[in-house]
């Protein structure tokens, strides 16, 4: 069963680009990564999905229902917005209780549990909190009713590494209990360990949806070489080479394919130095998928 179904979703903001023909399906129980640079349309997609803004065309549903037509489907939704602003003048606990009051179930214990895990002081006033602590309020607020679908929009910004770690553990745990997670981020490495699948969005369009395992099976290497003589731009005209830049005696590129071919090619060049590293997934996406489409 698909928990999230987005079909041909388009949103124009007047002349400005929003999102164009976005198609996505998120299956029950999976952790789905939604990756793209800032301004690519991640938040627009989520806000249309949740019914805050209306699509220009296409449709978006959660649990098979449209959020504007059936707002009650949102009772199984936990949402953490990218920027967390809450009613000032309210204590953390009051805000959390207000949030819980929408779900008609007792969330008191879960609030305490989550606050303890996230190391959050419930008695403080919200406007006195730092950005990171406000983010924690957002996390607790999004999870306190044990939702079946968790949508996270840039959840880790503002959290220190230790808190990020705890947060990931929390999400993993919710996922084991059966929650579906939709995780939007501009940093691929942070979703790498959690996600089953990732979609990459760029300039309002989905470039590629790929299984995490497939991504990790292919070996991509970033290769930097420094030769004794100048390197011509045709020297590495090999299948699987991309993002090639040659400057004087140095060259820099990503390689995907048979390593032996590459080694043979490299042996033809009189080298002074070489480094072979793992490129991050963002580079892989940008250099392979973006160009293939």
């Amino acid at each position: 069963m698909n928990v999230i179904e987005i079909k041909k979703l388009t949103k124009n903001y007047g002349k400005a680009r929003g999102i164009i023909d976005v198609d996505l399906n998120v299956e029950q129980g999976e952790v789905f990564g939604f990756i793209g640079p800032n301004g690519a349309g991640k938040s627009t997609t989520i806000r249309t999905l949740l019914g805050l803004i209306y699509p220009t065309s296409g449709s978006a549903t959660i649990f098979g229902k449209n959020c504007t037509e059936s707002p009650e489907v949102r009772k199984e939704l936990g949402y953490l917005p990218s920027e967390v602003f809450y009613y000032d003048n309210m204590k953390v606990i009051d805000l959390l209780k207000y949030s819980a009051s929408f779900y008609h179930k007792d969330c008191t214990n879960r609030i305490k549990e989550l606050a303890e895990i996230m190391d959050l002081d419930l008695k403080k006033k919200i406007d006195e909190l730092s950005f990171g602590n406000k983010k924690k309020v957002g996390i607790v607020q999004g999870l306190l009713h044990e939702p079946k679908l968790i949508i996270l929009d840039e959840p880790t910004s503002g959290l220190d590494p230790l808190m990020q770690q705890k947060f990931f553990e929390l999400i993993e745990e919710e996922n084991k209990k059966g929650a579906t997670v939709f995780f939007s981020s501009h940093i691929l490495t942070e979703v790498q360990r959690l996600c089953n699948r990732v979609a990459f969005i760029k300039e309002g369009r989905i470039i590629k949806v790929e299984k995490m395992s497939t991504l990790q099976e292919n070996t991509y290497k970033r290769i930097n070489i420094e030769a004794k003589a100048g390197i011509s731009s045709e020297a590495f005209n090999l299948r699987g080479v991309s993002d090639f830049t040659a400057k004087g005696n140095t060259a820099n590129f990503i390689f995907k394919g048979n390593m032996n071919d590459m080694i043979r090619k490299l042996s033809e060049v009189e080298l002074r130095n070489i480094s072979i590293t793992e490129p991050d997934l963002e580079e892989i996406f940008l250099n392979y998928y973006a160009k293939e489409e």
Partner: protein, 263 residues
């Protein structure tokens, strides 16, 4: 119900401040009556040119009597409670977008219509309380200064007029915030409309020829002269005003449900 309670609490402090202000307003306003009603007072007013009287808000009322004096004081009360109503109506809806809490609220299992309903209920109760407080303090203060016959009946009619005016401004306020995505622009426009209505009411006081402009000013929907003369409110205009309130309310629901929320 939870949104209702939350809004009620959020508006409580403002309600108390406005209530105190209205009591003080009536108190100070009425304390001036002694100066107007002293002997020879009516001569001064009789010699004043009509335009001058209109500007001062006296018009054709005999302000040396309690009945005329209250009619002279009343427009200022109506203007003040109108400001309260239009700002309340505009703010109660626009603040979610102004304070960026829309994403929090709209991720909850509530429809936009039920949000509007809860907020409108709180706003209407607030307006009613302000009205009742003005009514009670007017009756009490008037009876403290009044040496002639009781004008409680007249005050009640004035305050019914005020309630209608308040509700018109309240729903204009909610409509503006439901229509405009930019919460700051809708707030500015709301206050603008109110002062526009006030200026129109002054202009039409000064000259007889621009009476048709009164349709733009809810402050002038009912004839104060008629109320002072004990003829009450024109039922036709009451019905039209209720229709206007109903129209603004339905448009508030319609616009708020149709537009993109600003985040």
């Amino acid at each position: 119900m939870n949104i209702f309670i939350r809004e009620w609490r959020a508006n409580r402090k403002a309600l108390i401040i406005w209530s105190v202000c209205m009591i003080l307003f009536v108190l100070i306003g009425m304390s001036k009556y002694t100066a107007y009603s002293t002997e020879g007072g009516s001569d001064i007013f009789n010699q004043m040119p009509t335009t001058m009287k209109a500007l001062l808000g006296i018009g054709s009322f005999d302000v040396t009597t309690m009945s005329g004096f209250y009619a002279f004081l009343y427009p200022y009360l109506a203007l003040t409670t109108g400001i309260h109503a239009v700002l309340l109506g505009n703010g109660i809806i626009a603040k979610e977008e102004r304070d960026k809490t829309t994403e929090f609220l709209m991720a909850k299992p509530v429809s936009r219509a039920s949000i509007i309903t809860a907020k409108l209920m709180v706003a209407v109760i607030n307006v009613l309380i302000i009205n009742l407080i003005t009514l009670v303090s007017s009756i009490l203060m008037v009876s403290a200064y009044n040496k002639g016959e009781s004008i409680t009946g007249e005050i009640v009619v004035f305050l019914i007029d005020m309630l209608i005016t308040q509700l018109i401004f309240l729903t204009i306020g909610t409509l503006l915030s439901a229509f405009y995505r930019n919460p700051k622009a809708s707030g500015a426009l709301a206050t603008g409309i109110l002062f526009g209505a006030y200026i129109i009411s002054k202009v039409t006081d000064i000259t007889d020829q621009l009476g048709f402009l009164n349709i733009l000013s809810p402050l002038k929907y009912f004839s104060y002269q008629r109320i002072v003369e004990g003829n009450g409110l024109n039922i036709g205009i009451v019905l039209l005003s209720i229709a206007l309130i109903a129209a603004c309310t339905s448009l508030t629901y319609l616009c708020y449900q149709r537009r993109d929320l600003s985040i």
